[in-house]
Symmetry: C2
Subunit: 215 residues, 2 copies
C-alpha cells in the first residue's frame, strides 16, 4: 500500500468550533463534506484527542468556519497546533456568536449544525450534523488543503486524519529553516538569519527561535 | 439559511466503483475523505438511488479512482449522468482489476477499501472503508470539484449531496448552449451552430442535439 496516494484526496481547510461550558473552543480540520442536500447534512471527522470533540459531544452543536485564501494563515496554527485545553484560542481572533456558536469573522462562509448521528473509529469521531444555519461572509476563494501545503507550506498536525509521520523530513528541505511547532518551511528571499528577532511563524505564530535548520 | 455557503466546501472528483455479480459498476462522486491515519480508513457518501450503493452493500468492497485534471472529462459524464442499471459504464473506459475491484487507468491514484461500518441518512449512505490497497498511477494534479465547475463548467447530478435545483439557470447563461443531460455550458470560440454534427458534450457524451439555447 502506498499511503502517498491519500494525498490525492482533495479537501478544504476549516475551523471547527463549539462551546465549552462558558467559553468558545475550536480546532483546524480538513475533513468536512456535505452528505445530503434536503435536508442539508454535513459530516466532519475529529480526533478523539481534540478537545473540541468532547465539547461537541456535550453541546450537540458545531460550527464550521470556511477559511479562504485571504484568511490570516496564523489562524490555522492557532487552531491546529495548540490545544483548547491549554489556551483560549478565540482570545486572539475576532468572532461572532451565531446561533450560540462561535464563528470566525475572517472566513468566507460558515455552516452551523446540530449533531444528529455519529460513527466512531479507533481515533476519530465522524459527526453527522443537520445544518441549522449557513451563510457566505466574503467572496474570498475557499482555501484548499493543497493550497495550504503548496503555497503556505504548512504540514498536517498529528491529530489530522492525513497525518504522515516525518512528513517534513521527506520533503528534502536541507539547509532550510523549518518551524518545529507546525512544520512550516521558511522560503523567503531574505536569508532566515537576517530576519528581525520578532519574526513569527506565519502559520502557527511560534517565535523565530522555534525554527530549526534542516541538516 | 444560504445554501450557496455549501459551495465553499472543497472536494475532489472520483469514480467510485464496485462489482455487480459478474460486471463492474461505478458512479462519479465528490464526497471522499480520510477518517483515520492508522489504520487508514476512508469515508464516502453515496446516494441510495445510485446502483453502486447496493453493489457496495453486497460486495462489501469499493474502489476510488482519483480523477486528475488530465483525465478525460467524459469519464465524469459516463459515470455521473447515467445509471449502472441501464448501461455498462466500464465498457467505454480502460480499467484494471486490482484486488477484485475495477480501477480506471485514466486516473492519478486509487484506493481500495473493505466496508467496516456505515451510517444511514434520508438519501445517502456514508460507508466507512478500511484501506486494503492504494497507489499513485500518474503525477497529474487531482481534479477538484471547483475545477470541474469553473474550468470544465460541469454541474452536479441530481444524486449528488451538493445538488441544487435549477443550478444551471442561476448562472446567467442567457444565449449560451447548455447540455440538457449534464448542464455543461458550451463556451468555445466557434459559434455553437457551426460545430460539426458529430460534436458531443465533452462531459457526458450527449449528442449536439441534446444542447438547448438558454433563453
Amino acid at each position: 500500500m502506498n499511503k502517498n496516494a491519500f494525498r490525492n484526496i482533495s479537501y478544504g481547510l476549516y475551523v471547527l468550533s463549539s462551546w465549552d461550558n462558558t467559553s468558545p473552543t475550536g480546532c483546524t480540520i480538513n475533513s468536512v463534506m456535505q452528505i445530503t442536500s434536503e435536508p442539508a447534512t454535513i459530516a466532519i471527522s475529529v480526533n478523539h484527542n481534540n478537545f473540541t470533540n468532547s465539547c461537541i459531544d456535550k453541546s450537540g452543536k458545531f460550527a464550521i468556519s470556511v477559511l479562504s485564501v485571504n484568511s490570516d494563515p496564523s489562524i490555522i496554527g492557532t487552531f491546529g497546533f495548540k490545544s483548547g485545553k491549554d489556551v483560549n484560542k478565540f482570545e486572539s481572533v475576532k468572532y461572532d456568536n451565531i446561533q450560540g456558536m462561535p464563528v470566525l469573522k475572517d472566513c468566507c462562509a460558515y455552516i452551523i449544525c446540530e449533531v444528529i448521528n455519529k460513527m466512531e473509529t479507533d481515533t476519530h469521531t465522524v459527526f453527522l450534523g443537520k445544518v441549522v444555519d449557513a451563510d457566505i461572509l466574503s467572496d474570498g476563494e475557499p482555501m484548499t488543503y493543497a493550497y495550504y501545503h503548496k503555497v503556505i507550506k504548512g504540514k498536517s498536525p498529528q491529530n489530522a486524519p492525513t497525518y504522515i509521520a516525518n512528513e517534513g523530513k521527506e520533503n528534502m528541505n536541507k539547509g532550510k529553516y523549518v518551524c518545529s511547532v507546525c512544520g512550516y518551511v521558511y522560503d523567503g528571499e531574505i536569508p532566515f538569519e537576517n530576519l528581525p528577532d520578532d519574526y513569527k511563524c506565519p502559520v502557527c505564530g511560534a517565535p523565530k527561535s522555534a525554527f530549526v535548520k534542516q541538516q
